[in-house]
């Protein structure tokens, strides 16, 4: 038999509808839920399991009691409502103490300050997060950190203004000194001058300005901070500060300059190799031994510094992964066009490396945000710490689940939004394969 029978197609075939069983819900269920006996068995077991969990959980949650002054009152109401002896949640603790879980012991008449700070933060970060936002908001982004500090802690307006002035000095030096002095001297001056200014001039200057023109709002002590406000202040500051620091460390670790390279490696490995809780204890206890006597360094500031350093070491490694994933050709392409090191990093390498690193960076941020609960061990009243202090009152002694569910839910909302944002950003930045 001749296998190479000549064949010529004279008419092309039309596309046809698939058979009925291959469409719609039926097809989907057959493929995803009941594709085999094992799959069908697992589907049914899972459905039963989910039903069992919800059957226990939903009546407890939905039947919960919202109006009561104490746990014992809650139980009385429950017993009168449900004589069958079934257990329900006592959400009354939330309606009674929600403001403490959110704001700690911040003076209630000043709640508008943290709320305004949050709104301002949202507006300040929007031009960074989204493209369509007016660019003018970047001015707010520059002012926001100082305004936020002033709003939260209060006191004289001059301290944050004077501190901000240090950055202006640094910027001015960088802008005007690089021409006459050369880039190396200018860079050193850009760092040294503001630091010297902060150390020696800023304090007296703020004092003098305050004496001359006293402008200020009521001061609030760090001890009064607590709840999610505290978690957000530490978390957001840590996130905002650790990203740039982490990028610099990652570049340092990739650098050909021996000293910079080894310093970055040492920093990353030491910080990452020690548990965060140890660093927090260092911040709360040891740091005072190293500071000159009389210098008071706010505990919150110390914690923020430690959290920032800790997560920047992780960020550095995540970003280094992104840098390593870029083909060498990208570096060469940038070099061959005559871009200098900082230009090629800023325009070519980092945008791509950071895009690759988005999932890792966001994981690190989520981890950092949840780790803020560790500050409870050094006596700061984060949400977990507040749940302890709420339980310490005789009214709510013995209540656990309701508080933890609420705290967990709040954390989950923040972390889940970060996760969704990162997925959206990845999709937006996807410009096709290389």
């Amino acid at each position: 038999m001749n296998h190479s029978q000549p064949f010529v197609r004279t008419q092309m075939l039309e596309a046809k509808e698939p058979p009925l069983a291959e469409k719609g819900v039926v097809k989907w269920m057959r493929e995803n839920l009941f594709s085999s006996w094992l799959n069908a068995f697992l589907t049914i077991v899972s459905i039963l399991l989910i039903y069992w969990v919800l059957d226990h959980l939903l009546p407890w949650m939905l039947g919960g009691i919202w109006n009561a002054d104490s746990l014992s009152q809650c139980r009385e109401i429950r017993d009168s409502l449900y004589p069958d002896g079934r257990d329900v949640a006592c959400w009354a603790v939330l309606s009674d103490r929600w403001h403490q879980l959110l704001f700690g012991f911040y003076p209630p008449e000043l709640y508008w300050r943290p709320i305004l700070t949050l709104v301002m933060f949202g507006a300040a970060i929007s031009p960074i997060l989204f493209n369509g936002v007016p660019r003018k908001l970047f001015i707010l982004t520059a002012i926001a950190p100082f305004a936020a500090f002033w709003l939260l802690w209060g006191g004289s307006v001059w301290m944050p203004v004077v501190v901000a002035l240090g950055f202006v000095i640094g910027w001015a030096v960088m802008k005007f000194a690089s021409m006459p002095l050369g880039s190396l001297v200018a860079t050193i001056l850009t760092i040294l001058l503001p630091v010297a200014y902060w150390l020696f001039l800023a304090g007296p200057l703020a004092g003098a300005l305050d004496a001359a023109v006293p402008v200020g709002i009521e001061a609030v002590q760090t001890d009064d901070f607590g709840g999610f406000m505290l978690a957000l202040v530490i978390g957001v500051s840590g996130i905002v500060l650790s990203l740039p620091l982490g990028i610099v460390l990652a570049l340092g670790r990739q650098s050909d300059l021996f000293i910079i390279n080894k310093c970055s490696v040492a920093f990353i490995e030491i910080i990452r190799g020690v548990p965060l809780i140890v660093w927090l204890f260092t911040a709360s206890l040891l740091l005072n031994y190293f500071l000159p006597p009389g210098v008071q360094f706010d505990i919150m500031l110390r914690v923020i510094i430690m959290v920032t350093l800790f997560s920047s070491a992780y960020i550095a490694e995540v970003v280094r992964g992104g840098l390593a994933a870029l083909p060498r050709g990208q570096y060469e392409g940038a070099d061959s066009l005559g871009l200098n090191y900082w230009q090629s990093m800023q325009l070519i390498i980092l945008p791509q490396a950071l895009k690759i690193s988005i999932p890792g960076i966001v994981s690190t941020f989520i981890g950092l945000f949840k780790d803020t609960t560790l500050v409870v061990f050094i006596g700061l009243l984060d949400p977990i710490g507040l749940s302890n202090s709420i339980r310490a009152s005789t009214d709510w002694n013995g209540i656990y689940w309701e508080l933890f569910i609420f705290i967990g839910l709040c954390f989950w909302i923040f972390c889940f939004s970060m996760s969704r944002y990162s997925q959206w950003l990845e999709r937006k930045l996807h410009t096709g394969h290389r």
Partner: protein, 266 residues
């Protein structure tokens, strides 16, 4: 001989602007380079005059890519002197950046920036290195995209283009810096035969305008048609160089004969 070569040969080449002047564009003398202890380039002496079109060929690992990558300091040489356009390549970063902005380069894998559109790829260096105003840079970019015949792709991303189109964008991107010298590092080696032609056509047009070009390539049809000099390298040294006609018809060294018989033999 492949299809692409014969297609390139079908084209009438306008030689009216292909003039070699006495002005030196690149002067390499006594240049040596090592990778660790491996001696990649041995005593390279090469003078390129303005308007020359030089094709460098040789077996893989012969150091031909390394040689042209030394010219814009993508690779560092350890001994000898390289003078490009009157500027000596030294460790001074300013000199290196200056030379790189005067010397265009095209790579085997194009090395376009995938996160930027075609237009942005072309305007990036003029805007940031030459400080050209954005509008002007965009006009220049569109001019060169017209020249490589893909102006309609300006707003796409590199990932959406075919290999041949990407390489032409890469050429346009280099041209936007108005370079006086162009280096090509195996520009067609990663392309399908159909796309090789469009890239070679672009390179031929460039040669017709009198651009000084150094091409590492295996396209012998292109070498025969366009080059004024062919250099054969082996084991890190220049083994033979000559005008294309005598180079292909009457090679002197045994090594060259062997190489030519292998690549032209089928």
């Amino acid at each position: 001989m492949t299809d692409a070569q014969s297609i390139a040969e079908n084209r009438q080449i306008d030689r009216s602007h292909m003039k070699v002047s006495d002005e030196v564009a690149i002067d390499i003398s006594g240049m040596n380079k090592w990778y660790g202890t491996f001696h990649v380039l041995k005593d390279i002496d090469l003078t390129v005059y303005r308007g020359e079109r030089i094709v460098i060929c040789g077996p893989s690992g012969s150091g031909k890519s390394t040689l042209i990558r030394c010219i814009n300091a993508l690779e560092e040489h350890q001994q000898g002197k390289i003078v490009v356009d009157g500027t000596e390549l030294s460790n001074d970063l300013k000199n290196i950046d200056k030379i790189r902005s005067e010397v265009g380069m095209c790579f085997q894998h194009f090395n376009l920036f995938p996160h930027l559109t075609i237009l942005e790829n072309c305007t990036l260096a003029p805007i940031w290195v030459r400080k050209t105003p954005k509008r002007e840079a965009e006009e220049t970019a569109m001019h060169f995209l017209h020249k490589v015949k893909i102006p309609e792709q300006a707003d796409k991303y590199p990932g959406q283009l075919s290999g041949g189109q990407q390489q032409r964008v890469a050429i346009a991107r280099s041209l936007c810096m108005r370079p006086r010298i162009m280096l090509f590092d195996e520009p067609t080696s990663a392309l399908d035969p159909e796309m090789i032609k469009e890239v070679l056509d672009t390179m031929i047009e460039l040669a017709e305008e009198g651009m000084t070009m150094l091409c590492v390539t295996h396209e012998m049809g292109f070498a025969r048609q366009v080059a004024n000099r062919v250099i054969f390298m082996d084991a890190g040294q220049i083994v033979e160089q000559n005008e294309p006609e005598p180079f292909f018809t009457n090679p002197q060294s045994e090594r060259t004969k062997l190489f030519l018989s292998q690549i032209l033999g089928h």
